[in-house]
Symmetry: C2
Subunit: 152 residues, 2 copies
DNA sequence: CCAAAAGTTTAGCCTTGGCTAAAAATACTA
DNA sequence: TAGTATTTTTAGCCAAGGCTAAACTTTTGG
C-alpha cells in the first residue's frame, strides 16, 4: 500500500482472486438485468399515470428511440414480462408486475436511505436510478432498518 | 398511485419526461465507464500488490478470459489510460493513475457508508463494487460527511 | 371520409464486452 | 539448450442495446 496517499489501500487486499471475480461477475449480471428492470418499472409507472404504456412515451422517458423500445419490448415479451400485440399499447404480465413492484420498492428504500444520510431530494432520485440495481437484499434490509430507526 | 400497495408511488411522479430521460442517460453512461474504471482500479491494485499487472491476473480477478483482457487493454491504451507493449506487463499512465485513485477513493467512501448504516463487512465490499459507479459527487460528499459525523 | 400527423414496426448498421480456438512469444526446467 | 508450460495475441464468433431510415398502421382533424 505504498502509493496510496488517501489511506484506503487496494481493494483487493481484502480477498482472494476468485472471491473478487465473483463480485465482478455479480456486478456484470446486475448490469444486464438493470435495463430490463428499468423498462418494466417504467411501464408500470406509465400504466399507473396514464392507464397505458405506449412505446413513444417509454422512449421519451428513457431517452431512447422508438425503434429501440420496440426491440426491447420484443425481448420482454419473450421473457414473459409483458403482453403486447402489434400497434397496441403494452401491459405487464403478473411476473412483470411483480418485478416492477420489487424494483419500485428497492428504488424507494434507496431514496429514503440517501435522504436519511443527507443527500438532497433531487440528487437522491437521480442517483437511486443506478444504485437500486447494485444493492444486495442484505444491504437493502440494512437500509430499511436504518431508515426506520432514524425516523423514530 | 391507485395500484401501489407498498405505498411508494410511481418513480416518475417526481419529474418531467426529459428530466427522467437524463437520469437514465446518466445511468447508461455510468455503465459504460464502469468497466473501464474496474480495469484501471484493478491494474492499480495489482501493481501495488505485485509490482506489475499481468493480463492473466487481471483476467483471474475480473473473472474474464485473457483474450477479453487483451482487447480491453487495447482500448485503455487508445484512451491513454495505460502503457503496454506486446508481451510485457501493463502500466498506468498519469491519467490512468488519477482515475484509479479517484475510483479507489469512491470505493472506500461507499464501503464506509455501508458499514456505518449497518451493512456487514463482506456485503459492503461486494455491493460497493457496483454502487461506487452510480454515485454523484454530491452523494459521495454526503456519504463522507455522514461517515465523519458518525465516527466522532 | 380522407389526408396529414403521429405512432409502430422492420431492416440494417454500429460498438461493447464477452467467448473459444489456435498461433506466437516468453518463461521455466530438466 | 531443448522442450514443455505458461502467457499473450490474433481471429472470428455472439448477444445486447443503441442508432437511422423507410415502410406501414392508427389516429385525428378538417
Amino acid at each position: 500500500m505504498s502509493s496510496d496517499p488517501k489511506g484506503g489501500g487496494a481493494v483487493s487486499a481484502h480477498m482472494t482472486p476468485d472471491k473478487q471475480a465473483s463480485h465482478f461477475k455479480r456486478a456484470r449480471e446486475a448490469r444486464e438485468s438493470e435495463i430490463i428492470e428499468d423498462y418494466v418499472e417504467l411501464i408500470a409507472d406509465l400504466i399507473d399515470e396514464h392507464g397505458e404504456a405506449r412505446a413513444v412515451d417509454i422512449g421519451k422517458r428513457l431517452g431512447v428511440t422508438g425503434a429501440t423500445v420496440n426491440k426491447m419490448i420484443a425481448r420482454l415479451k419473450m421473457m414473459d414480462l409483458v403482453n403486447a400485440e402489434p400497434y397496441r399499447s403494452i401491459f405487464l404480465t403478473d411476473e412483470g408486475r411483480k418485478m416492477a413492484e420489487a424494483s419500485r420498492a428497492r428504488h424507494h428504500i434507496v431514496v429514503a436511505l440517501l435522504r436519511a444520510v443527507g443527500v438532497d431530494e433531487a440528487t437522491a432520485w437521480a442517483d437511486a436510478e443506478g444504485m437500486e440495481h447494485c444493492c444486495s437484499p442484505e444491504t437493502l434490509a440494512a437500509f430499511a432498518e436504518f431508515v426506520k430507526k432514524q425516523g423514530s
